[in-house]
């Protein structure tokens, strides 16, 4: 039995075989020539055969798919042996280039042409590059990049996963995620929680496990072990039995002594919102409006925005919906708003700050939100991301007032905002702690970096102190300004108890986590939560803080959380 300790980012216990995510393909070197002894005709025939094999594989997958996925696979299959692509490659082969390099360059040419056409065609450029990678993998005799195809369920193991890797992830086939790199706030962690898959990140060495190795994954403890025995199998079976009770949340969120803590959902669009409402969310604590802007070259019109927001508001009639204004920059660049050449994008013009460099976009967004709010019964509030000073909070509040939005708020994710919460909250009606960025900025540790996973942990006592100071600032301000949390921290049931103990009034999370958080919160009184929070605050490390809190919450172990 071999153990791989990592960082647990999404709870769940499961036993299954691993499949390694194939490594990204390296580019064939520029100027690579055909090997001596191979003829141009021979190389062209090899390329044809590889292209046909990829086409057949994609056609086979299309046959087993339905709807949009089927149409996309059929079109991609045609691209694989496309005469235009292959003719361009054969021309290069005839000029002496190797088959791999030839198809690489030919596909580059086609992709650039499609990208130049913009819109729908530009999106297809990605498909051409995907097909190219598959052809090159076939030429090299290595597995094609992307999530491996499989008949049975498996545990996906990777160095790290990017959004493009997980777009096609089917949670019925991929039953857990394990990465050697990545941190608690990495994309892998976020996608795992939204799909409800057990996940462990930063588990060094797992990428050497051979395909098919049976392992036990505990997404709460953050461990992976080979050769699972009866104990592990029983734990996995117990989790599977519990999972159904942890899927149902009927609200309201409350402590054992009846202190209400509204449990809200983080959503990124109307579809998410409908799902969140069905999962019992008491409202929306974070509507990420980027969905309406991402992958666009120009700003969406007010009419388009109104329609997009309306879809979310309509899912929560009479309920609270907190809209976060556009949070572009850093890991979410937008060509018409942010400067991609900044040396330090996380510390650059992002979030509310883009209003300095591109005035007007925020005003139009607020106008669209106000119009959509006017046509719905949802209790709509707006908050600005990346607020650092009282002056910024005041500036945002006056923009909101001008748009006819009367409940402005701010995100607290920059440490300066937590430290000056009293002055900032004098300008607005509420605050919401974005624990992901707050942790990144407090610890000066990039969210995406695996080696910094230990620093980038919301259990860091320094982060908990800033939560405490924000709540204290709100209390000192004297108007009972509510402070919520809408970062990933709220989805960790143990941390959720600590946050409530620190005085946080609402928790907003991925809808998947509502039931687990509610189940754990219901086992403690407010006073107990406060005691647990004090224990965590006084810890000297995130591990100690977490252990202390978990030690007081036996329900976690019972539920496998």
């Amino acid at each position: 039995m071999q153990n791989f300790p990592g960082v647990g980012v999404s709870p769940g216990r499961i036993v299954g075989p691993v499949r390694q995510m194939p490594r990204p393909l390296s580019e064939p070197p520029a100027g690579e020539k055909r090997a001596p002894g191979t003829t141009a005709d021979g190389a062209a025939a090899t390329l044809q055969a590889a292209a046909k094999a990829v086409q057949a594989e994609l056609r086979g997958r299309a046959a087993g798919a339905a709807g949009d996925a089927k149409a996309v696979l059929e079109a991609t299959a045609l691209m694989a042996a496309d005469p235009m692509l292959l003719k361009a490659a054969v021309k290069l082969i005839n000029a002496g280039t190797s088959a791999e390099r030839a198809v690489w360059e030919a596909a580059d040419g086609v992709a650039a042409m499609l990208a130049g056409l913009g819109g729908y065609m530009a999106e297809r450029a990605t498909d051409v590059l995907d097909v190219r990678a598959r052809i090159i993998a076939a030429l090299r005799g290595v597995p094609a990049p992307g999530i491996p195809a499989s008949d049975g369920p498996f545990i996906l193991v990777a160095e790290d996963l990017a959004p493009a890797d997980t777009a096609t992830l089917d949670p019925a086939v991929v039953v857990a995620l394990v990465t050697a790199g990545g941190g608690p706030q990495s994309h892998t962690a976020i996608i795992a929680r939204s799909l409800g898959l057990p996940a462990v990140v930063a588990a060094a060495g797992v990428d050497t496990l051979p395909d098919g190795t049976e392992v036990y994954v505990d997404g709460a403890a953050g461990t992976i072990s080979t050769g699972p025995g009866d104990r592990e199998r029983a734990a996995a079976a117990a989790w599977a039995a519990n999972a159904s009770t942890l899927a149902a949340f009927t609200g309201p969120g409350t402590t054992a002594d009846g202190h209400l803590v509204p449990l809200l959902a983080n959503v990124g669009g109307a579809r998410d919102a409908v799902k969140a409402a069905a999962a019992g969310a008491e409202g929306v604590g974070l509507l990420r409006t980027e969905f309406c802007f991402l992958e666009r070259d120009t700003e969406p019109s007010i009419v388009e925005q109104v329609e997009a927001y309306q879809g979310v508001f309509d899912a929560f009639p009479g309920k609270k919906v907190v809209v976060r204004t556009l949070d572009a920059g850093a890991d979410k660049p937008l060509p018409f708003l942010t400067d991609a050449s900044e040396p330090n994008p996380a510390l650059g013009v992002r979030g509310y700050r883009t209003d300095l460099s591109s005035p007007g976009v925020l005003e139009r967004q607020l106008a669209a939100i106000a119009r959509a709010a006017g046509q719905s019964t949802a209790d709509v509030r707006v908050m600005a991301p990346m607020i650092s000073t009282p002056a910024e909070a005041a500036g945002f509040a006056s923009l909101c007032a001008a748009a006819g939005l009367h409940t402005p708020g701010v995100m607290v994710e920059v440490p300066s905002a937590a430290l000056t919460a009293e002055s900032i909250l004098r300008e607005v009606e509420f605050a919401s702690l974005g624990t992901n960025d707050l942790t990144q900025y407090t610890m000066a540790a990039d969210r995406q970096l695996g080696p910094l996973a230990a620093l980038n942990n919301p259990w860091q006592p320094a982060v908990l102190q800033l939560v405490r100071l924000t709540v204290a600032g709100a209390a000192a301000e004297g108007n009972g300004t509510p402070v919520g949390v809408c970062g990933e921290a709220a989805a960790d049931p143990a941390l959720a108890v600590v946050l409530v103990g620190l005085g946080v009034s609402t928790l907003s999370m991925t809808a998947r986590s509502l039931a687990a958080v509610a189940a754990v919160l219901a086992t403690v009184t407010l006073k107990e939560a406060q005691e647990i929070a004090t224990l965590a605050l006084r810890a000297t490390s995130p591990g100690e803080a977490r252990d202390r809190a978990r030690g007081k919450l036996p329900i976690l172990d019972e539920l496998g959380l």
């Binding site: 149409a71 496309d82 005469p83 499609l114 065609m121």
Partner: protein, 92 residues
Amino acid sequence: MSERKATVASSSGLHARPASLFAEAAGAAGVEVTIAMDGAPAEDAMDASSILSLMTLGAEHGSVVVLRAEGDGADAALDKLVAMLETDLDAV
């Protein structure tokens, strides 16, 4: 050389699914068929069986395109392909 003009009927133009269906049909036509926008020089015509060529052609709903083919069966093949272009393939 046989030649036919056709007006693209698919609402999304010659992209996506219509392009897949048309490329597949052109590939199965038995003769080599080229496609060009109406008015473009014949030497710029592209392989109609290439989905990538069709996508870069940029034919929208209502665009007029020219199909050309040579040899036995060219006329019959072109008639079939014209009928296809003049059907709304998005609705199929």
